[in-house]
Each structure stands twice: as structure tokens, then as C-alpha cells.
């Protein structure tokens, strides 16, 4: 698990420290930097998984020993701190762009994609120099690198969830093809074929929460594409293109806990499209996922926050002078007294109106 994260000169993040927990939410006004924080974390793990350094005329994998003022992570006993920096981001963004270009339809491949065609985008001058401990890798550091090797960011989009998708070969990792959830039908096809009860579990949940639905099917529409179909109690079959957004979002979140594990799950606004009472169920799914995968999210929903503990919520604000700042909600003034009478989401919204966060961050009446 990543216990702390630091970003410098990364998008709107001038110099930000964030303390993290196994499941953690960033709340705050629009344009405060919540999504940039998530992107920074994704950049970090992509750097760990796909990163390069240039040494002796050849490309080498991610090197944790970096200069002290640009640490990729700091390992102190049991806690892991990570950081991204704009100096890296210049080339990491190039890398990510390239990876995204070739990644569509191939995410989750068991073997890494060949990188040879990508290397031309890197110049030695862009590469982060190695630190003084060059070459001193031990098993612990390999384990850390392994831990940071992958992240999954999701910002589900119903249009992407509806699309027919290709199949996921059994030899490949089960996951979505992009951030928006494209590939949902293929994911369910793979879950059904795995025959480990995952598909049946999801169907059971769907029946419980959507009583008009009797079953889920995955139907082939071409020799290589499948779509999701909901079978209603009266036998009517509803293809994904006509499913409600709430059902699509539910299916996507329900699938998350059965995908091949990643080190970090980054979720943009898990509340989107969901009935308020259903948000608690999605949060229960994410909490279950957090037992094995760190879950970090950006949200505007007090109902999402209501499902979290005080230490699991950070308030993100942004000012022209300081840029983005992150502060744990339980470190705000008078928190103890306020938390006695407000549920956590109520507390946030009672003292923060999206423009003036001062009553929350500095105390005083709303």
C-alpha cells in the first residue's frame, strides 16, 4: 500500500503531500486538483511498471534509487511513500501517450507489449539520472517494484460500457480496455468462462437490486464481439445499448472486484449515475476490493463520504498562491464536535459550499 504521495510541478499540483489509507477519497471544489492527484498516482505506478532509465547506452527498467530531491519512493520500515515530479512527467506523459495508443484492446496482456517502437520518443536528456545507490537492488526493492507495477483508473462512461467488445483470451488478464469501462461485455464473458462463481455472484446482486431482471447473458454479435444482455422477468431481452445507466454503472462496479488484481484502483466519481441508496452498495464493493487493492477516489458525493471513516477522507483545495493543497478532514478545526452531530458527508457539505471552504478548513459557522 502507498502510505503517502507527493507531487511537485505536476499539472496544477505545485507541491502537494497526501497521506493515504487502503481506501481513500479526495473531496473538494471543482478544479481543485482531485483528478490530477489520481492521474499523478497513475503516472507513478506506470513509471514503476513501464518506466525506463538510460544507462550505458541501453534502456533499463524502473530504478528506485533516484536523487534525494526526486525520489520515486521512500521506504521507511513499513511505510511506502511515493512521488511524481514534473521533471519526470515530461517524458512519462510521452510514455503514457504511447502506451495508451497501443494499449487499446490489449490491456492486461500477460506479456508486456514490445517497447522497441516506443523508444524513439525518449531522449537521454529526458531520463531521470540514477542515484548514488545504483545497482543495489535487493529482493525487497524488487517486491516494491512488483507492488507498484500496475494501476487501474476508472471513470465509467455509459456510452463506453454499452459498446460491444472483443473477447479476452484466457491467457490474458481480465480487465477493461480503457478508463471509461470499454470492454464490459468482454469482461463478463471472461468471468462467465472462468467458472469460479464470479458471474453467478454478480447476477445474484443484480437480481437483488434490480428486481425486474431475471438473468444476465453475454451474446455474440459477430465472430469476435459480444454484448451484454439483461433478461427481464417476462422474458424480454434488453441489450446493453438500451440498459439504464444505473444498471450499467452497477455492473461495472460489480465486475471490479472480480477482475485480475492490480496494485492500485483509482476511481473517478463512483457516485455517477447511481441512485443515492445504491451508493452505499457500490462503496461496500470498493471496500471489499480495498482488502487486496488500494482504492483511491475523487468524489463530489456526501453519500460516498458517509460510507468512509474520517481518516479515509482528504479535502482538496486550490488557491492561486499555494496551488492545490490536501488536508485530512479529521484534521480540520472542531472536527471532533462536528463529527458527533454530522455524518461525515453531511459534515463536509455543511461547512463547504464548493466555493468557500473556509468554515471547514479554518473553523467558524457555515
Amino acid at each position: 500500500m502507498i502510505h503517502s504521495f507527493r507531487a511537485r510541478h505536476y499539472g496544477c499540483l505545485v507541491d502537494v503531500d497526501a497521506a493515504l489509507t487502503p481506501i481513500h477519497a479526495f473531496v473538494g471544489p471543482n478544479d481543485s486538483g482531485k483528478s490530477t492527484l489520481l492521474n499523478g498516482l497513475r503516472t507513478l505506478v506506470q513509471l514503476a511498471g513501464d518506466g525506463f532509465s538510460f544507462d550505458g547506452g541501453k534502456w533499463a527498467p524502473f530504478e528506485p534509487f533516484l536523487p534525494a530531491d526526486h525520489p520515486s519512493y521512500e521506504h521507511s520500515g513499513t511505510e511506502l511513500g511515493c512521488a511524481v515530479d514534473g521533471a519526470w512527467y515530461t517524458y512519462v506523459s510521452e510514455l503514457r501517450h504511447a502506451v495508451e495508443q497501443i494499449g487499446v484492446g490489449k490491456l492486461g496482456a500477460s506479456e508486456p507489449e514490445p517497447r522497441s517502437e516506443l523508444r524513439s520518443v525518449f531522449e537521454p536528456s529526458n531520463v531521470v539520472p540514477r542515484g548514488p545507490n545504483h545497482g543495489q537492488w535487493d529482493e525487497r526493492l524488487y517486491a516494491l517494484r512488483e507492488h507498484l507495477a500496475a494501476a487501474r483508473l476508472v471513470r465509467f462512461d455509459p456510452d463506453a460500457l454499452r459498446k460491444p467488445s472483443g473477447l479476452i483470451p484466457e491467457t490474458e488478464r481480465v480487465g477493461f480496455f480503457d478508463d471509461r469501462g470499454y470492454g464490459l461485455a468482454g469482461v463478463f464473458f471472461a468471468l462467465r468462462n472462468r467458472d469460479d462463481g464470479a458471474f453467478a455472484t454478480v447476477v445474484e446482486g443484480v437480481r437483488r437490486h434490480f428486481p425486474t431482471i431475471r438473468n444476465l447473458r453475454v451474446k455474440a454479435v459477430t465472430s469476435s464481439e459480444v454484448v451484454l444482455v439483461a433478461e427481464l422477468a417476462d422474458g424480454t431481452q434488453v441489450e446493453a445499448k438500451r440498459m439504464s445507466e444505473g444498471l450499467l454503472y452497477y455492473l461495472a462496479f460489480a465486475a471490479l472486484q472480480h477482475l485480475d488484481p492490480v496494485s492500485l484502483l483509482l476511481v473517478e466519481e463512483p457516485e455517477n449515475g447511481l441512485h443515492p441508496a445504491r451508493i452505499a452498495e457500490v462503496m461496500a464493493i470498493l471496500r471489499e476490493v480495498s482488502k487486496t487493492t488500494q482504492v483511491l477516489m475523487a468524489t463530489h458525493s456526501p453519500l460516498v463520504i458517509n460510507e468512509l471513516l474520517p481518516e479515509e477522507v482528504s479535502v482538496v483545495t486550490r488557491t492561486p498562491a499555494k496551488g492545490t493543497q490536501v488536508r485530512r478532514i479529521h484534521e480540520t478545526p472542531d472536527f471532533e464536535a462536528r463529527a458527533k452531530v454530522y455524518a461525515l458527508g453531511e459534515l463536509w457539505l455543511a461547512y463547504a459550499n464548493g466555493t468557500d471552504e473556509a468554515p471547514l478548513l479554518e473553523g467558524g459557522p457555515p
Binding site: P276, A277, A280, P302, L303, N306, D334, A337, R338, K340, V341, Y342, A343, G345, E346, L347, L349, A350, G363, G364, P365, P366
Partner: protein, 218 residues
Amino acid sequence: MTEAKGTSASQVLRVFIAGEGRNELGRRSGSPAYQGERSDPGVIEALLRKVRPTGWEVSAAVDWKELRKFKARTGGRGDGANVAKAHLRAREHGCDVIAFVRDRDGVRFEPRESDIEAAIAELASAGAGPRVIGGVAIEKLESWLVALAGVSRSEALRRPEEHLAKQGIDGKDTAAMVAHVDEHGIHAVPEDAASLRRWLDRARAVLGADDVTSPPAP
């Protein structure tokens, strides 16, 4: 007249009021941006003036519905929590007293009274922050207005608004309601108007009024 409890002659108590809307709060109802410029009081302020005309001022207010509630399936519950939220809001405004009233709205919401009474008792036992004048109006604020005119069994009336309408008081006419309070005062409240009498007793205890005109026990 005696001084308000815990105050000196020169100290003006700051009172925070909470209620369901304009009839209870007067021009202080609603978001500050939409509050009127005039100092039109509501029924809570009018009642407090009858208990103690001076030595206090209304400093801030909140509509009951503005107290944040974001939990699914809590309809008709949570009023005790709202009392605590309003009390915290009063403390954050630096107020010495919070005065509120909440309609019970019928037997269907009977737990509302016990929830609110439990919350008041808890705040009293904690002994910190603003002192509390509050409680439920059985069944609603209009029942209290009927009782002020000396009408018995006001709490059992199904539609107290009809009694008020006969006296020319429309349900949305806050000024007429306040005038009704001013006209009748708090001298004629029947003993069976238990929720109003309890509220007035709390107001006397907190504001320290000598209230020599309290109605004698029948």
C-alpha cells in the same frame, strides 16, 4: 424584571433560532442571501419577547431543512440529530441560547417528540454550549397559536389552521401570527397545551424572566 440567567445587566444574550420556515423564523428564514432587510420577527421571537422583552437579541437562525441530512431511508427520523446540529451551529455563531420548535405533525411522527426530548436532555447533561429552549409543537405551530387564545384541547385539533382562519389568520401570514401572539400574550395558555407550556417553562428558565403573569394552575 430579573436579569437573564447567567448574564449581567449590560450583557445582551445572543439567541440562535431554528424552525421550519418563515412562520417560526420570520425574515430570518432561508439562506442569508434571500433574507429580507426588514426585521420582521417570527413566532419564536414573538413568544420569547412575551417571556422576556429585553436583554437578548436574535443573532442567527437556521431553517430545519437546511440542517444537512444525507442518509438514505431516514425519512421521519433523525430529529434528535438535527437538534444537535442546530446546537452546534448556535455555538459556532457564538450564541448563548438556542430556541427552536419542530412540529410533531401527527401521531405518525410520535418518535419525533421522544427523539428531540432525548437530544435536549443529552445537551443539558453535557452542560456545554448554548442553553436550550426547545421542543415539539403538538401537533404544529398553529396548535400553539390556538392555545394562546385560551382554547382547550388545542393539541387534539386535527386542523388548527381552520380555527385561526376564522380569526382572519392565514396559514402563510407570519405577520398576522406574530400579531396574534402580541395580542394574546402567554397568560391564557390552558393546562392541556402541554407542549407549549413545556416550551415556555424552558424559556423562562433560560431567559430568567420573572413572568408574574404566568397562568395559574387550574
